[in-house]
Amino acid sequence: MSGINLVEAVRTALARALADDETVLVLGEDVAKDGGVFRATDGLHARFGGRRVFDTPLSEALFAGLAVGLSAQGFRPVAEFQFMGFLYPAIDQLANHASRLRNRTRGRLSCPMVVRAPYGGGIHAPEHHSESFESMLAHIPGLRVVIPSSPRRAYGLLLAAIRDPDPVVFLEPKRIYRARREEVADDGAAAPLDRCFVLRDGADLTLVAWGASVADALAAADALAGEGVEATVVDVATLKPLDEDTLLASVARTGRCVIVHEAPLTAGFGAEIAARLVDRGLTSLLAPVRRVAGYDTVMPLPRLEHCYMPGGPEILAACRDVLEYR
């Protein structure tokens, strides 16, 4: 099958950014010779050299803060966190510094940096390797939080993130790193960072998802189509700032909405979307807004992981609930 998969699209975008702009740097643990544990940076060290693509010591707080210092000096560092579960020590730098430096200094200093991290479950990874806490990051003012769901969007959104003048957290759904190939023109074209993508159009129901859950939502929509139900599928893509208008417009039409995410339900980002709908879209709601999400439990180790992950059956059950609601 031709085309490239999502992790290759990430790599292609990184290479393009490194080639186009000499202020772009790639750093993190094992990103140089090893090419990243998922090979997202494979070949970049050989091609762009150790000055531009380098390994840091095993110090997540350090390299987040390093990116703050580098970007305040005009570089565009792209820092890879090996897994999202190891990003916690960097939240301090993201919340107290990266997201604020521009505001604190009235624009004198700023942080055009990107933080990348593979996230999410479903690959039978070891303990602490399957986390999704995008909503925690989406709560931090001054950040952007972006999550691609396909190779093409990964390429365009990552380029946009790198070119953005402010800090962007770019979360890569590792469950679909190699799930699907598609043709991605390496044309340097960035995708918009402030827009949801409507991937499928239907008048009966709006399915909202991001990351790896988008494929699940599309599959559910396919299944529903077989039953004569036409669902719109929205890939949120940029959680922060949130393109509320696209979501409201879709639900204004369908009146029914199911939101899907892997992260635990409580205070997950699905809540924000539901809250926007009940604030500005109440009149259009013909049914409760359902969230199909992870349980409020610690992500179980691999043997039970499949019982945690919200999947096809859960999504379809929620859709049917919402569709049957009168």
Partner: protein
């Protein structure tokens, strides 16, 4: 300009690569029965590791971190501890865990993706494997402080990698241990690599033993492929800590002969030649040669040991493979001491889903 402080780092080793005593063994350190026990533990660990890799390769275990070539560190550390001490391992100290009574089947369960693998039947106070690198160092300080508060003559032993020494929390834990003069020993299992990042890119410090200078206590380097030296140096540190002498840092120099984990391919970033070279320092062969030269080991014993290790590991594998997964609702069972009513719907949903779900492979 006045010199106000001087610090030194010492290196300790007894056996050379051929197993000859290059330095005089400390009194009692050469006792044959004890050395044979150390040797057996190293071989058991190696057998376990090899089997775990094989299980992973055949889809019956998750990602696994082998300790090939580093067995002397884990075994030496554990042998230096008392049963009532508490071990806080990282993820490559199965040799220490096995010595302390963690059962092979528990380790397999853990790496096979089952939380019950950390519910050790014995070693009840030992900490589970710690994956987020270095984050268990503050726990070790807490455990040590608990001992001190209760007036117990116990010691916390925290093992971490060379990469972990770059983590701020490890430094913070050592610094606090210094302030409170806690009964805790930090052992750096320096296998020269943190995945693909070599020791030299991790820090400019000439030794990792000197990391404790920043925390105000001593550090010592030991030949980590010399189990006699590891046991001796760690035991000294542990007993000093037990006696109120405060914390210590031990850097054990060893080498990761295998890949970082089964998910890694070390040939991408390091020379095979380096690995071949390091095989000459194999800690198990070294101790075997030492014992053999003293007439305390022979082929018959070796074969018996191999067979015994095989049997024990095979038995554990059989036991492991026969254990069905927990029911899905298990993910709620130990989330809180008592499950909050607010979560009962979720738990019920999960339980129902479990009974519906078709079984998935155990990794």
């Amino acid at each position: 300009m006045t010199r106000i402080e001087t610090f030194t780092v010492e290196h300790v080793g007894f056996l050379d690569a051929d197993g000859n005593a290059a330095a005089e063994l400390p009194p009692g350190a050469g006792e044959a029965d004890a050395l044979r026990a150390l040797y057996r533990a190293m071989v058991l660990t190696r057998t376990f590791d090899a089997k775990a890799i094989a299980l992973q390769r055949t889809g019956r275990l998750g990602t696994f971190a082998s300790s090939l070539g580093q067995e002397a560190v884990a075994v030496g550390v554990a042998a230096a501890m008392r049963a009532e001490d508490v071990l806080l391992p990282s993820f490559r100290e199965q040799g220490a865990q096995l010595w302390r009574g963690v059962r092979p089947v528990e380790l397999l369960l853990y790496w096979g993706g089952d939380e019950r693998g950390s519910d050790f039947r014995d070693a009840r106070e030992d900490f589970p494997i710690c994956v987020p690198v270095g984050t268990h160092a503050p726990h070790a300080a807490g455990v040590a402080l608990a001992f001190r508060l209760r007036g117990e003559a116990r010691v916390a032993v925290c093992v971490l990698g060379d990469g972990a020494t770059s983590k701020g929390d490890v430094y913070e834990a050592m610094n606090f241990a210094g302030v409170e003069s806690l009964p805790v020993v930090f052992v750096v299992n320096n296998n020269q690599w943190a995945i693909s990042v070599p020791r030299a890119r991790q820090t400019a410090a000439a030794t990792l033993a000197q990391k404790s200078v920043a925390a105000g206590f001593g550090g010592v380097q030991v030949d980590g492929n010399d189990v006699i030296a590891v046991r001796h140096v760690v035991a000294e540190a542990v007993e000093r800590a037990r006696a109120g002498g405060g914390p210590a840092l031990v850097e054990a120099l060893t080498y990761r002969l295998g890949d970082h984990t089964t998910a890694d391919d070390a040939s991408r970033y390091r020379d095979d030649a380096e690995v071949t070279e390091r095989w000459h320092l194999d800690p198990a062969a070294r101790l075997r040669r030492h014992l053999a030269a003293r007439g305390e080991w022979d082929d018959a014993r070796e074969h018996a040991l191999e067979a015994d290790c095989e049997t024990r590991v095979e038995a554990a594998v059989d036991e492991y493979l026969a254990i069905p997964p927990q029911p899905p609702r298990a993910m709620f069972d130990h989330l809180y001491g008592t499950l909050p009513a607010a979560l009962s719907d979720q738990a019920a949903h999960c339980a129902a889903r479990g009974s519906a779900a078709e079984a998935e492979p155990s990794t």
